[in-house]
Every structure is written in C-alpha cells, then in structure tokens.
C-alpha cells in the first residue's frame, strides 16, 4: 500500500480560529478516501491545503512525494479538483469552460477537444455542449465540475462535498461515476457530511470534528469497533421513560440519549425490542448500526445539525 499523500501534525490557523488542529493521515494510491464530518470540521480547509490553495500553518504535507509549500505547481498538475462552490465560468459555454480550463494545464488543443468531448459523454452532458452555464441545473453543473476536474487526467481527484444540494437521482449518478473512476485507478479523495456517502464510496475514512481527527479506518471496521451490529431507536423519550428503559436493560447496555431519541446499541435489535415490550413504546426503529452512530458516540452530536 503505497502512500500518495502524507500528513503529519498538519495545522491551519487563522487569526481567531484553528481550523485544522494537528492531524495525521496517509492516503494510499488508488484508494477512495473520505473526510467525514459536520460543517466547520476542517475538511474543506484540509482539502485546500492538499491542492495548495492555502498554505499550512505548520506540519508536514506531501503529495506524490512533493512538499505542498515548495512544489505547488507539480502537485497541481497531477491533481483534479472538484470544489464545493460553483466556480464555473458564467460567460462561457459548457465546452468553452472545459477548453479554457485545459489551457491552464497546457493540454494541447486537439487533445483537449477530444478529451472534453469524451468527458461530456461520460457525464451525460454531450447535449449541453454549447449551452451557457446559467441554463444548467444544479446537478448538471456538478457533473460539469467533475468533468472539468478530470480534464488533465489527474492521478488524484479531490471532491469537496460532491453531492451536497443534489437530488437523490443526481446523487446516485455521481456515486456511480466515482466508482467507475476509482476502478480506472484514480485515487479519489472526498469530503462529506453524509454518512451514507462515506460508507458507500470510501475504502477508508477519517472522522473529523473541530479540526481534529477522531478516528481513521474502514467504514465497517469503525462501526464494528465502536457500536456493534445493530441499533434500536426509540423516539419521544423523556427523562422518566429513559430511566425506565435503562432499568429494564441493565447497566451493561450501551445507550445514548440525544434530543428526544434513545439509541440502544446491541447485537440484535429484535432481542432488545423483546426486553422492552412491557414498556409499550411507540415510534421504534430497528436498523443496522452506521457511521452516524459512531460520530454521535464520539462527539455527542450528529453529522447534520
């Protein structure tokens, strides 16, 4: 497992806040790696340091063996960036955006044209080739941003919140495209606050909160390590009812009480349901444990406020 990105004690401080508070991670070549955390966790800032958009305050960050503070151009030439904001050129057409962007990478004109057409095909945007950006939907713009991020056939593709604001259909389309890209050998790095996205797309991930890394590992492994297998949820639980539940299950039971909801972490949710039958609970859910539960356990808060 060869590391293509290495970060050690990486820090980013602004005047009044520490956005990234000394983090360490290594990303292997060819893997899909995620940064999962709520808004403000420091994910985007970390991405910006990787693609040399902002300089680190301290610590070590190397991409493909290059130091981000010393060789930004070399790093940028092998990266593709799909930013969170829409930074498409509003005055140019879809194809115009791709050709103009290809120039910054010094892609020869003929190849740029071929590649642009192929990318538009891949992202199902060929029909919109000559359309002005304003006339595209949010989902189409995002797909165009991904196409643009690939114009220099990068070794590493960085996507910052790639499906935020997209409808479920568009989201699934992006996910399948990303899987295709990963299979072609590109290292995929994405940030997200959607647990499902991280779990589905990433081989490994880090969980971030307040600029720190809480955990690092494969999604399944993290869930197993912290939670177990299943979760039994009960809604509309006040203090009184919570005490009754705790009494019924005993001291060894792992329980979280957050807002009006109780999360009971167990090996079998249906077994727990049986043990609580006498309480005549309402609004119950039995489900598999996921990363959201891990995050809640580690931080006492949810991924999405």
């Amino acid at each position: 497992m060869k590391s293509i990105i290495v970060a050690k004690s990486l820090v980013k401080k602004y005047d009044d806040l520490t956005a990234v508070d000394s983090i360490d991670f290594e990303i292997a070549e060819g893997e899909a790696f995620g940064f999962l955390g709520p808004n403000g966790a420091g994910k985007t800032t970390t991405m910006k340091m990787i693609y040399c958009f902002v300089p680190p305050s301290s610590g070590r960050l190397e991409v493909a063996g290059y130091d981000v503070t010393r060789h930004p151009r070399q790093i940028k030439s092998i990266l593709g960036v799909v930013p969170q904001d829409d930074s498409l050129d509003p005055d140019l057409t879809v194809i115009g955006n791709l050709i103009t962007y290809s120039r910054y990478y010094e892609v020869p004109k003929k190849i740029a044209l071929e590649r642009s057409n192929a990318l538009l095909e891949m992202m199902s945007l060929s029909e919109k080739r000559k359309v002005v950006i304003d006339d595209l939907s949010g989902g189409m713009k995002r797909r165009l941003l991904i196409a643009r991020g690939l114009i220099n056939t990068p070794k590493i593709l960085i996507l910052d919140e790639p499906t935020t604001g997209l409808d479920p259909q568009a989201r699934h389309m992006v996910w399948s495209k990303l899987r295709e890209l990963k299979e072609s050998g590109i290292t995929i790095i994405l940030t997200t606050h959607y647990m499902e996205e991280a779990a589905r797309q990433c081989d490994r991930l880090v969980m971030m909160n307040n600029g720190k890394i809480l955990e690092l590992g494969a999604p399944d492994a993290l869930v197993k390590k912290h939670i177990g297998q299943e979760v039994f949820e009960v809604d509309y639980v006040d203090e009184e009812l919570f005490i009754k539940i705790k009494t019924a299950l005993g001291d060894n039971q792992s329980i979280e009480h957050y807002s009006d909801r109780v999360y009971i972490y167990t090996r079998s949710a249906s077994e727990t349901a049986q043990r609580l039958q006498h309480l005549n609970l309402r609004a119950m859910t039995e489900r598999k444990a996921d990363l959201e539960d891990v995050f809640l356990k580690l931080t006492g808060r949810t991924l999405i406020e």
């Binding site: 958009f53 050129d89 910054y104």
Partner: protein, 258 residues
Amino acid sequence: MNLNPFSGVSHRAYYVFLRHRDVFIKTITTSLIPPFLDPLFYLLGMGYGLGSMISPIHGMTYVQFIAPALVASVMMTAPFFECTVGTFVRIEYQKTFDAMISTPVSTEDVVTGDIMYGAGRAMLQGTAILIVITAFGLVKSPWAILIVPLCFLLGLVYGSMAMLYTSFIPAINYVDYFFTLIMTPMFIFAGTFFPVAQLPHWAQKAAWFMPLYHTVNITRALNIGDIGAIWGNMLWMLICGLIFYALALWRMRHRLVK
C-alpha cells in the same frame, strides 16, 4: 526570504489572458462599443465644438491638440476599469480566480494575466480612436503608428496601478474613489485639454508625477513625428510600471493567499 519581486510569475499568465479574451469575444456586443464612444464624444464636443472658440496652442488647432491626448486617455481608462471592477468581480463573486488557482496557474499568473488583458483592451480601444482621428485628418506623421503597440505597453503600467488599488479594497463600491480621486483629476489636469503650463507652479510640478502627463507627451510627440522627445517620458513610464507591478504582485499575493 525571496528577494525577487516578480517570483511566481510564469508564462501561464498568457493562459489567463486567453480566458479573458474568450469571454470578451463572447460578450463582444457590450464590451466593444460603449467604451469606444466616450473619447469620440469628447473629440466632437470639445475638439470641434469648444475648439472653434479657442486660439491655436503651440501652433496647433485645439482639436489637433486634444486628439492624441484622447488616445492617451484611453490607455488609462480601459485598464483602470478592467483591473478594478473586472478583477474584483472575478475574485469575489464569480470564483473564477479560485478555479484558476486550483490548476498550475499561480496567483501571480492571474494578476499578470489580468493586467495584460487590461492592456489589451487599451490597445483595442486606443487603436480604434487612432483610426477615428486619422480619418478626421488629425494625424500628422506616420510615426503615430507606434502608438498602437505603445497602447499595450503603457496600458500595462495603468493596469498595474489599478491592480494595486484593487488589492486594498474590501467591497466593490470603493472602486468609485479610484475613478473620482485618481482617474478624473489625471484626465483633466495632465495636459489633455490644456497645456500644463496654464496651471499654477505647484500644480505643474504635481503633474509630472502623473502617468497620464507622460503618456500624453508621448502620443502628442508621435503624432507630429517628434521621435526624439519621447524617451524621457518612456523611461519614466517604465520605472513607474515596474514599481507598480511589483507592488501589485506583492499586495495581491498578500490578499489572496491566506
């Protein structure tokens, strides 16, 4: 500590310029005509209208006197506008800058590309006005053709000045100060509409510090074929340009890379 004030600039500035050119062509109906009309109106109104009441200046009719100065003024106004409003919009609202910086293009490349584009606009508009005044028979020497490339070279100086200003402002309405406090006074007092000698002594000395004063001298001299007269003014513009360019790079780097 890097002592080279121009470090970070590369040939990639040209790709930034090309992107601006592409947008210009796409929006050509609104970008080409309006800025070209302004000096035309001054020529007709002041030159012929007012000029009919004014006695010859330095052996020239009034309209002959102001015509090359109006060409010079365009070398100032086009980059001034492009490197304030244009640059600010790209940075703050359109995130165009962000997109560029995610590629091997550097902050310095973007600043330089913007300045080059401002100079390109100066050349386009300056050439248009030059053609107009030639049609009116106001050009007295074939040396005036040198004004065309000079529009670009001198436009770089004005672009750098404007870029330096832009590096300081927090919001787009501050651009107005630049136009009213810097551009307009230069436009009026740098020898465009009347010789600087008409000003009080202290103001004449102050005029020497205005880039437009030297630009107007250059275009007037070339218009009548007096090649020898331009070199002092050219040197002034060169030094002014290098200083402002270095300062603009420094300040923009400071503003954009946090």
